[in-house]
């Protein structure tokens, strides 16, 4: 190779060969992969556009102004519920796609061979991917909090000429805010785990993303199917079974925690009453199953392709 430099001129000091795989380094690497994907920014841009249109239509109408003037608490809860629905949907789509892509891409493109061959552990890599996705989710959440808070204060000031309607909200409004934040975090964690599990099972981007994205529409629609079957067969088991579907249970989590005022879930909910404890158990079991599937399959299966 005539143009190649002499190896002695470029080969480094012995200290280089003392490098070790690092979890923090793996997280940095995964964050770079997320950041450099055009799809990440396309989804985020769509997130901003849809949010701006939806929130704008919610807060700019005359009805909103009247509600704010006469019932600031009601205005705030409306805003909060709309925001949570919007955030859960958009962050869910974002994290399901990112999670499934990030994990399955390594198998689909074969880069998993290069990564593992340099000593990074399989579970270490999966953990780094979870961490990078969690950081991404938290950054998006932080951005949404900042922007939606700014929009809220701006709208209140525009309608009322002061921030008093917000600053004088009762304590329960802030409690519900924290509950919504908790539900958003749980929803994000479940999406990351679901996306990763689908990717690890299928080991292809198409299967991973497809299965992850189809899951929630399928089990939300499953509630409708089970209701129909219940009506046709008069068997109550079909209605009872809906309390074990993940999507409807996640949709019911915020309403089951917010006892001070009635909250309607935006999407399907179980067809039988369930309390918060039931929701936590069902969500916890699904999360554990997704995590276990991802970890065990990553750990045990050979990398053949």
């Amino acid at each position: 190779m005539n143009a190649v430099a002499e190896p002695t001129a470029v080969l480094p000091a012995r200290s280089l060969s003392l490098t070790r795989p690092s979890f923090v380094g793996a997280v940095r690497s995964e964050l770079m992969k997320i950041r450099r994907q055009a799809l990440t920014w396309v989804i985020l841009a769509a997130f901003v556009v849809v949010s701006a249109i939806t929130l704008g239509s919610v807060v700019s109408g005359d009805q909103a102004g009247k509600l704010l003037a006469h019932n600031p608490r009601g205005f705030y809860f409306n805003y909060l519920e709309g925001l949570l629905t919007l955030f859960d949907t958009m962050s869910g789509v974002l994290l399901l796609i990112l999670s499934a892509r990030l994990v399955s891409m390594e198998y689909g493109s074969g880069t998993i061979r290069m990564v593992l061959a340099r000593g990074t552990g399989r579970v270490q890599l999966l953990g780094a991917q979870f961490a990078a996705l969690a950081i991404t989710g938290l950054l998006v959440l932080a951005g949404v909090i900042v922007v939606s808070g700014g929009v809220l204060y701006g709208v209140v000031f525009a309608w009322q000429g002061s921030f008093t309607p917000i600053t004088s909200l009762p304590q329960v409004a802030w409690t519900d805010t924290w509950i919504n934040l908790l539900v958003a975090l749980v929803s994000m964690a479940v999406c990351i785990l679901l996306g990763a599990a689908a990717a690890v099972v299928g080991r292809s981007v198409a299967f991973g993303v497809g299965a992850a994205l189809a899951f929630f529409p399928a089990d939300n629609f499953g509630t409708v199917v089970m209701l129909l079957v219940n009506r046709l067969t008069h068997q109550d088991i079909w209605r009872q079974a809906t309390q074990y579907l993940l999507g409807p249970t996640l949709n019911q989590l915020a309403p089951s925690l917010q006892t001070d005022h009635a909250v309607g879930a935006a999407f399907a909910t179980p067809l039988v009453p369930v309390d918060a404890t039931h929701c936590w158990v069902v969500i916890g079991v699904y999360a554990f199953l997704f995590l276990a599937a991802a970890v065990v399959l990553t750990w045990r299966r050979d990398v053949l392709h």
Partner: protein, 305 residues
């Protein structure tokens, strides 16, 4: 420190009922360029994958630099640079960012190191371009750069000439020679037998998952007391030589007489023919090509013709 850099002990891998690798015992010594040869499906890539911890052996073990790969992969594998089959890279990242992604995983490398390996493989000028725009040869070179990132003691290269044009193959050969000159141990699996013959010190040939020959290249290709003589009338010389006790294996190949010598030395053969009035235009000690050796060891009996 042991002279063995890579050792396999009774290494076996079974897929269902098919034994891909059967009780393979190999030893690669420090500083040598070791060729690993076999027909398609012989078990080469499976062996390499086991050496790199990508698949779990059914039996046996692999030791690299004195440590068991399965038990101590995080300590051992960073000291190994590997290229397994086709170069697997992140197409949406630039060449430089591909290197960065792997450098992060290795816990970070000095700033100048990326430039050094990019220079070494002649990609410095294209480092900012996305890898999806690279030719196969460029991808292969970038994969080699990734393998060299942290100055590994052992390089495992699976078909490094795959997809390279003749000029690329020559470049790869020169790079391997430079690495060997710099004291690296190189384990190379290749179908390009002429290249292996030129760069390797020793070769192992496997067939149907079993080791069939392990020897130095010089030993393998050395002639077995045969000489090639260029003569004006080889048929006459052949008839004469075949009448001798030592000449029964004489034959004509490509218009030249191939024959043993009465004493094992070429001048005795020349003297014998000269006494009969046959003067040779030239004589060479006959050497076998690695390809001939390879085919004789791996072609099923009866299929050679």
């Amino acid at each position: 420190m042991s002279a063995a850099v890579l050792t396999t002990h009774g290494l076996s891998k079974t897929y269902g009922t098919r034994q891909a690798v059967r009780g393979l015992d190999l030893e690669v010594r420090r500083g040598e360029v070791f060729g690993f040869l076999g027909p398609n499906g012989a078990g080469k890539t499976t062996t390499i994958r086991m050496a790199l911890g990508l698949i779990h052996p059914t039996a046996g073990r692999v030791e690299i630099l004195g440590s068991d790969v399965q038990a101590d992969r995080a300590r051992v594998l960073p000291r190994v640079g590997a290229l397994v089959e086709t170069p697997a890279l992140y197409g949406y990242l630039s060449g430089r960012n591909n290197l960065k992604a792997f450098a992060h995983m290795l816990g970070g490398l000095p700033d100048g190191r990326l430039e050094a390996v990019l220079e070494l493989v002649r990609l410095a000028g294209r480092q900012k371009d996305k890898v999806k725009s690279y030719s196969m040869g460029m991808k292969q070179r970038l994969a080699v750069a990734i393998a060299l990132l942290n100055d590994p003691e052992l390089l495992i290269l699976d078909e490094p000439a795959n997809g390279l044009d003749p000029a690329g193959i020559v470049e790869m050969r020169d790079l391997l020679r430079q690495l060997a000159a710099a004291g690296k141990t190189v384990f190379i699996s290749s179908h390009v037998l002429a290249e292996v013959q030129q760069v390797c010190d020793r070769v192992a040939i496997i067939n149907l998952g079993q080791l069939v020959r392990l020897a130095g290249v010089a030993e393998l290709v050395a002639g077995r007391g045969e000489f090639v003589l260029r003569l004006p009338n080889p048929a006459l010389a052949l008839e004469l030589v075949r009448r001798q006790d030592w000449g029964s294996s004489a034959r004509i190949e490509s218009g030249a007489l191939v024959a043993r010598s009465p004493s094992g030395r070429g001048r005795e053969l020349l003297h014998f023919l000269a006494q009969a009035g046959i003067w040779a235009d030239g004589i060479d000690e006959r050497q076998h090509s690695l390809e001939e050796i390879f085919l004789s060891l791996t072609t099923p009996i009866g299929a050679a013709s």
